[in-house]
Symmetry: C2
Subunit: 236 residues, 2 copies
Amino acid sequence: MKSAAKATQAEDSAETSTQLIRDSIREAIVERRLSPGTKLSENDVGNLFNVSRTLARAALQALSYEGLVSVAKNRGAFVAYPSPDEARQIFAARRLVEPGILREAAARITADDISQLKQLLLEEGRLMSERGQTARRAEIKASGDFHLRLAEISGNAIMQRFMEELVARSSLVIALYGQSTVSSCGHSEHGDIIAAIEGDDLDRACRLMLHHIAHIEADLDLRERKSLGLKEAFEL
Amino acid sequence: MKSAAKATQAEDSAETSTQLIRDSIREAIVERRLSPGTKLSENDVGNLFNVSRTLARAALQALSYEGLVSVAKNRGAFVAYPSPDEARQIFAARRLVEPGILREAAARITADDISQLKQLLLEEGRLMSERGQTARRAEIKASGDFHLRLAEISGNAIMQRFMEELVARSSLVIALYGQSTVSSCGHSEHGDIIAAIEGDDLDRACRLMLHHIAHIEADLDLRERKSLGLKEAFEL
DNA sequence: AAGCAGATGATCGTATACAATTCATTCGGC
DNA sequence: GCCGAATGAATTGTATACGATCATCTGCTT
């Protein structure tokens, strides 16, 4: 038998319904259909997906490990409400890792990857010009996907997972503290970064990336929001 | 009222017994009392800690998010058995983030922090000279603690958690692929890094850190181990 | 009328029960 | 004697049940 091995990162594919629930909720959070502070009761989640509390709870636990929901003992789970300090740490982390990821990605990038990235940009641009909630949500996602795709190209699954966490949490931060209505990050900057990679100017690409992240961060108003008791947040 | 807020990263303290179990198992893995591939059945874990399968399962799930155990659907949980490729990615990730962490840490480090770090080194050195399993285990832990402490000093909780994951997984990799009996990483190199920080020579400190990580990696023999069917690993 | 005490309802924490799957063994056939 | 199918034990997947905790609402006291 040739199997036996690879019990290492076992992920046959879609593992269980728990994963499905987790992914659904995460997507809802990232696309801002769920606002920070929203209560996610185990019962409601379970009913919503037609599973028992057991699985709902497992999904919420998983999301709490990603920092997307916070569970308070005996009080339940809520869509995470990152503090200004947390927000700063998230972006500090991105400044710390993204240049490195970019370098690794550039070292392995293929012509095919580049055309795929450009495709992504096009799509992103198209969505920006469109109107409507759906387009806006898709745009938010596409904007993060650029960073995610770079991590994927880098070939390091661990950094990729970490970036997924950071991008998702960034979305929460922007939802909370973002000022400009122009939700996502500067679209043109993504294009500039690709251009720099194509031109084999890595240092420039990294500089642009740092500038890009700083740009997103500059749009935030990181002042303590009156934390609206988590109750008024959705019951009022 | 000054509370109300901070429902963000709710961690009143020791939350539940699940955390306790998770921490216990993680410690056992990091200190190599549990070998890669060892089966962790939900029943056994539950009995061992006098809780039901529910909590045992939750703890194992949590550990799987950290990459310390791998759960295979319908087959159970096992202490992770990182592939050579995974091992490379883990160290690539460390090379990517540790210099950055070091820089941030150096920017905020206090005299007190430095003396604490030196204290840690002393302890580490003492353990190295000692004989016995217990000392060896403590040494492994102390060696990782140096890197962890730096992350803590950096003041970024997110990077700190990420480093905890990386250090723990590194321990698994070393257990699997390490060659020299000198388990942990070069003790003297830690001291050199501190010296460079004290001397305000950040570039040198980063270079030393990269060299240090490369040094650990060089001691690995990253060839596919015959993955001993995960069964023979502990039943034989 | 304001404030506190107790009761009530909802929600979470944990254990247990049952169904489904896997793994090992044994039995029968070739 | 060897290979394949069937059976049975063990383990996981999921649901449900019960006790504990917290939030809210009532009603009494001052």
